[in-house]
């Protein structure tokens, strides 16, 4: 299991232990709670009474269109912006400055010192978060090793490719062993190998008891990786839950293959519509509450059924339907 990290491994030291131990001591109270935050920029409502929770050990995917309010939410959580109303709690109390220092943050606007050496830069950030010089250095080197950048540790950041700069940026969020991770589009611009490494790291951190929230437009990745997903649009949280929960109440669809059926076969079940045909295979959409067994019976009555498959909507489809539903 990814979450079990060998504590004796020097590369992981400092980056892993604190969170793990904290998870043991604080147990279930380790919840990052966004409680009814609102933010306006003049006439523009950026956030409207936004509320959700991210639990310890949970990877929370934050999805929404550009300008939906994801970055504003994260900035408020980090104290970089002040909300007009509402509060962000951690361990049951509103986040203090000291508590915020324990949050690993990857801002949407990437930024590190371009002329600083990579390892030196990470160590500096580690120290700013309260590590001693030695710990910060060890942890920085450990994370560089993890991201395959051990040989670039003494290079200036600006000499690295954009993808590698992005890995350093994530290492900057991880270097001090944060209690919470807030990452604004950590996967944007990464190659598939780097995506896998980063996804592995996030899963591992979550399994170590760290609530991890990240935003992304890669909905397949979010669906695959996240325990829970929040869909935000125009500053409002439209849906929040596991992908399974989000599917519930959505459209049900079935692939049915009845090779003996006529070309224009219609099962004649109320609330069931043909959506798509592929040879003899047909995709039917079922309205909410319609029993799929009625469709199966109708199909069997026509001829031998070679295929009867439940099609679950992808997160992308759920996302579009939620957004369209809110707009309509």
């Amino acid at each position: 299991m990814m979450g079990v990290v060998e504590k004796g491994k020097p590369a992981e030291r400092g980056a892993t232990e604190e969170s793990g131990e904290g998870a043991d001591t604080n147990g279930g109270a380790r919840v990052l709670e966004v409680a009814g935050i609102s933010k306006r920029y003049g006439d523009l409502v950026a956030l409207d009474n936004l509320a959700f929770e991210v639990h310890a050990g949970e990877l929370f995917g934050f999805v929404g269109r550009n300008g939906a309010g994801k970055t504003t939410t994260m900035r408020i959580a980090l104290g970089v912006l002040a909300p007009d109303a509402g509060v962000v709690r951690w361990l049951g109390v509103p986040l203090t400055f000291e508590a915020r220092r324990r949050i690993g943050y990857m801002p949407e606007e990437r930024g590190l010192y371009p002329k600083m050496h990579v390892a030196e830069q990470l160590a500096y950030l580690g120290e700013l978060h309260g590590m001693t010089g030695g710990e910060a250095r060890d942890s920085a080197l450990g994370w560089l090793d993890r991201f395959g950048l051990a040989d670039r540790r003494d290079a200036e950041l600006q000499a690295l490719s954009l993808g590698n700069q992005q890995r350093v940026q994530l290492a900057a969020a991880l270097v001090f062993g944060p209690d919470v991770l807030v990452l604004d589009e950590p996967f944007a611009g990464l190659d598939p190998v780097a995506v896998d490494v980063m996804a592995g790291v996030l899963r591992e951190r979550a399994d170590a008891g760290v609530p991890v929230i990240f935003s992304s437009h890669e909905l397949e990745l979010v669906e695959r990786l996240c325990d829970r997903v929040g869909i935000i649009d125009r500053g409002k949280l439209l849906a929040c839950g596991t992908v399974g929960e989000l599917r519930a109440g959505g459209q049900e669809r079935r692939w049915v293959d009845v090779p003996g059926a006529r070309a224009n076969w219609d099962p004649g079940v109320p609330g069931v519509r043909l959506e798509q045909a592929d040879g003899t295979r047909r995709l039917f959409e079922l309205d909410a509450g319609i029993d799929d067994q009625a469709l199966l019976k109708a199909a069997l009555a026509t001829g031998p059924v070679r295929e009867f498959e439940r099609v679950e909507p992808t997160l992308g489809e759920i996302f579009r339907s939620v957004i369209d539903g809110a707009a309509g």
Binding site: K7, G8, R13, G14, E17, E18, E21, G22, R75, L78, G79, V80, L81, A82, F97, R100, R101, I103, Y105, P107, E109, R110, G111, L112, Y113, P114, K115, M116, Y124, L125, E127, L128, H129, G130, M131, T132, G133, G134, E135, A136, A172, F176, G177
Partner: protein
């Protein structure tokens, strides 16, 4: 597991201000700007000291040429001129016409012709102060000698009237003036340079977007203070180097005797430099956080630069009368006191209460500026693109 990594990460590391300051020192010392800037400042200060020595007229004696019989006056003229405080260099002129031509050409200041008892001075547009008196006294002595008086009788007859000073100036006063002028120039250049360095550092952090991570990690006022302190320390190091060069230049040009720059005077100047730096650097940082591009920095910090230049000019105005009302008032006003008070303290004895008041006012204004700057800084720091209006940044 080692004991070192056993506990949770807390405040075991160094304070954030120290970390930020250390980071600034490391990054600055590594840059070519630091090395180049040190060289440029050293050259400027040495040029300033040489210029000051030229302005003081100590190395350009009045050139006086004697022709014919008047050459007999040279010894007594030289002694009298020295007694009157005029530095002269004498030469023999064989031909009056050639000598006159030299005066016209400006290679000779004064040509003396005629006999020793009735000489005539030839000058171009005006005769330098006290040269006429010295020449008249020398001619008078010659006439008395011609009349048969003994050298002792002549010396007695020609003796200058003794002057009794109720408050005689110390011998070092005049030298302190040059020393304080030189230090004033150093302070001024240094404040401008380091203030701009802070301003550019702030904009650089905005432009490279590191600001958001920093603001999520440490308080804006600490980031600002650490930056100001770090650059201040780099500045002190640079000033030490420049100061050493200045001492060498002073010694070579002999514009002032080294002991005139006492330890107390140097420490006072460093103290005032630090106060002035804190004042101006904080102001520079606050204003610079309103813009996002290096090109915009100069125009934005212009109002602060104007204050600084005003302080520089006021310093010059204060030098002739360091205890006058203008100097006294300006030395108490925070934007100017770091420069004017430093010069006043070097040039005269400033009443203790005035020094204490100036320090108190400057410290209070630094505290106020830090509060204001921290507020502007955190409100404007994440605003990229167009320049942020001051009041918008202030209100947040």
């Amino acid at each position: 597991m080692t004991a070192r990594s056993a506990g949770p990460v807390g405040a075991r590391g160094l304070p954030t201000i120290v970390l930020v300051a250390r980071h600034e020192v490391r990054m600055r010392m590594r840059s070519r700007v630091f090395v180049g800037g040190t060289i440029v400042m050293t050259v400027l200060v040495v040029i300033g000291i040489v210029a000051a020595s030229l302005l003081a007229g100590r190395t350009t004696p009045v050139r006086v040429g004697f022709s014919g019989d008047s050459q007999a006056l040279e010894r007594s003229f030289s002694a009298t001129a020295k007694a009157l405080g005029v530095n002269v260099s004498l030469s023999d002129i064989s031909d009056v016409t050639a000598g006159t031509a030299q005066v016209t050409a400006g290679t000779l200041d004064v040509l003396v012709t005629g006999s020793s008892s009735a000489p005539t001075a030839v000058a171009k547009t005006a005769i330098p102060a006290n040269i006429e008196s010295a020449l008249s006294l020398a001619a008078e002595a010659a006439r008395l000698s011609d009349a048969g008086l003994s050298p002792a009788a002549i010396a007695s007859a020609m003796a200058l009237v003794p002057v009794q000073l109720l408050q005689p100036p110390s011998a070092k006063d005049n030298e302190n003036l040059f020393a304080s002028l030189a230090l004033g120039i150093v302070l001024w250049i240094a404040l401008g340079q380091y203030g701009n360095m802070v301003a550019q550092g702030v904009v650089e952090e905005k432009a490279t977007r590191i600001m958001e991570i920093m603001l999520a990690t440490i308080r804006p006022s600490r980031l600002l203070a650490g930056k100001v302190i770090g650059i201040g320390l780099v500045g002190l190091l640079q000033l030490t180097i420049v100061g050493a060069a200045a001492l060498v230049a002073v010694r070579v040009t002999n514009v002032a005797s080294i002991p005139a720059l006492g330890v107390g005077s140097i420490l006072a100047d460093i103290f005032w430099f630090l106060l002035g730096f804190l004042f101006y650097a904080t102001a520079y940082a606050a204003v610079a956080s309103l813009v996002s591009r290096q090109e915009e920095v100069q125009s934005t910090v212009a109002p602060i630069s104007v204050l600084q230049i005003a302080g520089y000019l006021l310093m010059y105005a204060a030098i002739p009368n360091p205890s006058g009302p203008l100097a006294t008032v300006c030395s108490l006003l925070p934007p100017f006191s770091p420069i004017v008070m430093a010069v006043r303290m070097a040039a005269s004895d400033v009443p203790l209460w005035q020094v204490a008041l100036a320090i108190a006012l400057t410290l209070a204004s630094i505290a106020g500026l830090t509060w204001l700057a921290g507020r502007i800084y955190s409100n404007a720091a994440l605003h990229l693109g167009t320049r942020v209006k001051f009041m918008k940044a202030f209100r947040g």
